[in-house]
Assembly symmetry: C2
Homo-oligomer: 139 residues x 2
Amino acid sequence: MSLMATTQQVKRRATNQGAAVKEALAAEDTFRSAQDVYATLRANGEKIGLSTVYRHLQIFVDDGLADVIHKPDGESTYRLCGDASTTHHHHLVCRSCGKAVEIEGPAVETWADKVAAQNGFTDVNHTVEIFGLCAACAA
Amino acid sequence: MSLMATTQQVKRRATNQGAAVKEALAAEDTFRSAQDVYATLRANGEKIGLSTVYRHLQIFVDDGLADVIHKPDGESTYRLCGDASTTHHHHLVCRSCGKAVEIEGPAVETWADKVAAQNGFTDVNHTVEIFGLCAACAA
DNA sequence: GTGTTATCGGGAATCGTTCCCATTATGCCA
DNA sequence: TGGCATAATGGGAACGATTCCCGATAACAC
C-alpha cells in the first residue's frame, strides 16, 4: 500500500470466535491458511465455522493486524504482525514449514518507487517475498 | 529460481493449438489469464479447449518462455518474456490493464540472498512485483 | 499410407473462497 | 437487570479458477 494507510478501526463486537482465531494465529510465527486455522480450531474442540475464520482473518488484514501472503499455488496465508503502527516490511518465508522472519529493505522501497515513477506509474505498491528453506527444515 | 536453471526442453509436437496460444500471448505485452486467452481465441473462431490453453501456458512456463504472476486475487497471469536465456528480471505491472514493463534490480537480488543467508535459509528464490496504474489507465 | 502415440477437448471433479440467510449472542440503554 | 436492535455466526449453496480423466483426434516417423 502507499496511500490510505489510515487503518481506521471500525467498532466491532468481541466474540469468542474472533478471539479464538486471533489466538490460533498468535500461537505460531508462521503464515497459516484459513483452512489450516479452521482445522486447528476444530481439532481443539472450538465451535466455529469456516466462514467465520475467513471473516476474521480478513478483518485482521483490514485492521492492519495481520499480513497476507499469496502462496504460488494460490492459497492465502495469514500471520499476525505486531500492530497497526508497525512499519512496512516484507518476509523471509520457509517454503516447507511456513515460518517467517520479518525483514526490512529500505533500499527496495525507494528503488520500487523510483522505477515506477520513471515509467509513469502511479498509485504504486509492491510485493517482495523471499522464499527458502529454514535451517530446521533443511535437515 | 536459483538452482535448476536448466530449462531443458522436451521434444514436443507442433500443433495448431500450441501455436495459437503462443500467438495470442505474443500479441500483447500484458500479463493475461488463461481464461482471458481462452476467451480471445474462441472469439477469434479458434477451435481450442480450455484445458489445452492451460496446458500450453504451463508448458511455456516450464520451458522458460513465459513468466507467471499470481495476482493478489489468486488468478495466474502469463506473458511471453524473451527466450529462455533472458536474465532473471521482475515486472512493473499495471493493476488495471495488465501491461507490464520488465525491470531489473541487481541490488535487490543480492540483498535478498544476503538476508536469506543471514537467517540460515537455503535454496532461496524471491518474488518482486511492483503494481501500479500506468499512465494510460490513470486517465 | 499406416501405425504409434502425443495431444486435444469437454465435462466432471477439486479446491479455496465467497455468498446467503435464518439463528444466536453482544452491547447498550432504560 | 431485562429487553431490544443488530452485529456476528455457521452451514450449505454458489462460484471461479484450475486440474483430472479418457475416448477421440491428429503429428510424425517409417
